[in-house]
């Protein structure tokens, strides 16, 4: 009986199911408690110029989305990453709590929940624009400086192309923070991937740097596509049906430094074809038809190359 009663408890405090209206529900709170410090640069009574605190303005839709010197104030859909929400949640005596002591009134639990819900729902401003000269849509942030020579000139893949690859069950992620280069892998569901799906990776050619095709059902034919990814540094073909014929076209991949061929049909005959790849540093040949003697010979043919056969 106790059990049944407990089930009812949470229902009493459910949030309203209608979407949060920024203009009527949130703007009055911000206007009253936040905007005094977070508004356009202005002169105080003594004539001194006052910049918005933390370079963050909260008096316009575009300005809120733009964020301040500490980064994003609001990340639509993600209250965890929205500092506006995070800072008002801090305990009253915390040095970073917003509004600070003596400025505005601290948010009540209901108000902060409202803000959270609004962010979760996508942070829509509806027809409210507020101040600010910028258009209501946030300007895309400038691409960060390339972290390595390989990224120079790399084109950020179109979102639609990345999404299309994700639809194939792939994990598509940047190789590092701020890098336009991508890693594509099938951590799960690799066995459903055939040559047909690999063809769909072509639109990512300008940014693909790491590709894991291990355990997929690809054949040599897929590697003709892979050979057209000039920025590829890391390629894993372990436990696939690829053979010497498939490896041959890979000699166009001049940036390749890691090549995993373990448990494939590759033999001694494939190795001379890889000699032009001067940046190769690690090649894995366990459970292939490559002989230890040829593997050792191959290792000597490229400086600093390490060949692992067992």
């Amino acid at each position: 009986m106790k059990l049944a009663l407990l089930w009812l408890l949470p229902l009493a405090t459910l949030p309203a199911d209608a979407a949060v209206n920024f203009r009527t529900q949130l703007w009055p709170l911000l206007a009253k408690n936040c905007v005094d410090c977070h508004r356009a640069p202005h002169k105080d009574p003594s004539g001194k110029l006052v910049e918005p605190k933390g370079r963050l303005r909260l008096d316009g839709a575009a300005l809120i989305l733009k964020g301040g010197s500490e980064g994003d104030a609001v990340v639509p859909g993600d209250p965890d990453k929205s500092s506006l929400y995070q800072r008002i949640l801090l305990p009253p005596d915390h040095e970073d709590v917003m509004p600070p002591k003596g400025k505005g009134k601290l948010f009540s639990f209901d108000d902060s929940e409202l803000l959270k819900q609004w962010i979760i729902e996508g942070a829509s401003f509806g027809d409210w624009k507020g101040l600010g000269d910028a258009p209501a849509a946030a300007a895309p942030k400038a691409a960060p400086k390339a972290a390595d020579p390989l990224s120079a000139g790399a084109t950020a893949a179109p979102e639609a192309a990345k999404e299309a690859v994700r639809q194939l069950g792939a994990l598509v992620s940047p190789v590092a923070v701020g890098s336009p280069l991508l890693r594509v892998e099938w951590v799960s569901g690799a066995s459903a991937i055939t040559d047909q799906q690999i063809a769909l990776l072509a639109p990512l050619a300008g940014s693909l740097a790491e590709l894991d095709l291990s355990d997929t059902k690809i054949t040599d034919a897929a590697l003709a596509t892979v050979a057209k990814f000039p920025r590829l540094t890391w390629l894993n073909l372990n436990n696939t049906a690829v053979s010497d014929a498939g490896i041959a076209p890979l000699q166009t991949l001049l940036n390749l430094s890691y090549l995993n061929l373990h448990s494939t049909n590759v033999s001694d005959a494939a190795l001379p074809g890889l000699a032009p790849l001067r940046k190769l540093r690690q090649v894995y040949l366990w459970k292939t038809r490559v002989s230890p003697a040829e593997a050792a010979k191959f290792a000597k043919s490229i400086p600093d190359l390490k060949v692992t056969i067992d």
Binding site: Q86, L90, S173, V175, S179, H262
Partner: protein, 431 residues
């Protein structure tokens, strides 16, 4: 400074707990889709490690009888002999002959030092980077990894703990969804992840659709994210019961000759399971090896413990390397503290707890193997170079994974925490 806040559960946690008690769903919160996936995560540097295998030597591993040998000092070495390794100039205890051949992959952290001399507190600090307190439970290292990097494979748990105390890997204030999923016996696989034999697949489907139709009506009346979350638990549980990734947990899929290279012990088989889980995208696998509390008869007990460690660790390193996985997998051997250089004769030559100096080991994951970091004096009793705290070690693990060491997470109680407290990563260990 970016502010993140650990999710509070309140209503949701209550729902999950109710589901647990009412329906016996024990796995579901830990596999919850509410944990971010790796698509949202970018490492701080390219070629960062993707997974960690954390081998916990529980009880306090004697550093002198394993990693930090003193060949010139018979008095502190007792019966333990010293051997050469695959790296000229680095010696190991003769208790680790197979591991000695893999030394080129390893960094011996011989300058470890902690301020905790009791097991529970020492393990807590090693795994959670904060001192134990009555008022809060800090998340385990694996929970931090889940929280900051997310799962790579959304179908199975991202944090798994093999044969250790489940409490050591709980999520603390980050909650059950970031906790380690406990596996008692590596050969038994994931518990409660398949249908009981008394229920046929057809019956199960029928029951599910009945539940669905009942729920549908409920949802039209009460449309709430909290309730939808709860329904998500069912789909998570279903996904794991039916997905092909589940074979990652099944050691019987492994060829006999591979199983044999790891050796028969539960710990070594746990190492093999860890490798399978890494292959399926699990982020953090902890394998616990107990029995290192050698107050009595140290020179019989340590070699026995070392046998299993040596079998499992050496096979794991070799196996990861030939599969091309070692660069992306950080292997850690950790313990809560070391043991006294003094040998206690009246305890059949035992060694007592010694927090002031001990050893941990890193391998793979982008570290430059074949070196030592940190050094103790000729007695093994005092760190004289590159003192490394448990927090520093955890910061180094975080660095290997490309995680932000300075990322602040606010606990539900409003306090700020970071993955390794004030620990500093030893970045010079990496290529």
């Amino acid at each position: 400074m970016p502010f993140h806040r650990a999710d509070e559960f309140t209503r949701r946690e209550l729902m999950i707990k109710m589901a647990q008690s009412a329906f016996g769903i024990t796995l579901a919160p830990m596999i919850g889709s509410s944990v971010a996936t790796a698509a949202d995560f970018a490492p701080s540097r390219p070629r960062a490690a993707k997974s960690v295998i954390f081998l916990m030597m529980s009880g306090g591993m004697s550093h002198l009888d394993t990693w930090d040998v003193k060949p010139e000092n018979d008095k502190v070495m007792g019966d333990t002999k010293v051997i050469d390794t695959s790296v000229p100039g680095i010696k190991l205890s003769a208790n680790l002959p197979k591991t000695a051949l893999q030394m080129q992959h390893l960094v011996l952290m011989n300058g470890m030092s902690t301020n905790q001399g009791a097991h529970e507190q020492g393990q807590y600090l090693m795994q959670r980077s904060y001192d134990m307190r009555g008022t809060i439970v800090h998340p385990a290292l694996g929970s931090w990894v889940m929280r900051l990097a997310g799962k790579r494979n959304s179908n199975i748990p991202g944090f798994v703990s093999v044969s250790g105390d489940p409490n050591l890997v709980n999520g603390g204030y980050m909650g059950a969804k970031c906790a380690g999923v406990p596996i008692g016996d590596p050969n038994a696989g994931l518990q409660d992840s398949t249908l009981p034999s008394s229920i046929s697949e057809a019956d199960f489907t029928k029951r599910l659709s009945l539940a669905d139709s009942l729920n549908k009506q409920f949802h039209t009346v009460v449309n709430s994210p909290a309730i939808r979350d709860h329904e998500g638990l069912y789909s998570d549980a279903l996904r794991i019961m039916r997905c092909e990734d589940l074979k990652a947990f099944d050691l019987s899929k492994e060829p006999t000759e591979v199983k044999d290279t790891y050796g028969p012990s539960r710990f070594a088989q746990g190492c093999l399971l860890a490798r399978r889980l890494v292959e399926h995208g699990v982020r953090f696998i902890q394998v616990t090896h107990g029995g290192w509390d050698t107050h009595y008869d140290n020179f019989t007990a340590v070699p026995a413990r070392c046998k299993d460690l040596d079998d499992g660790l050496s096979a794991l390193l070799r196996d990861l390397n030939r599969r091309g996985l070692l660069q992306e997998t950080l292997v850690v051997v950790a313990t809560e503290f070391g043991r006294t250089p003094e040998i206690v004769a009246e305890h059949q030559d035992g060694r007592d707890h010694y927090p002031k100096a001990f050893s941990c080991v890193l391998g793979g994951g982008g570290v430059l193997g074949g070196q030592t970091y940190g050094k103790t004096d000729p007695t093994g009793g005092k760190v004289i170079e590159n003192l490394t705290t448990p927090q520093d070690l955890n910061a180094t693990i975080a660095h290997a994974l490309g995680l932000p060491v300075d990322q602040v997470i606010i606990s539900p109680s409003g306090r700020p925490f970071t993955i390794a407290d004030k620990g500093k990563p030893v970045t010079t260990l990496f290529a």
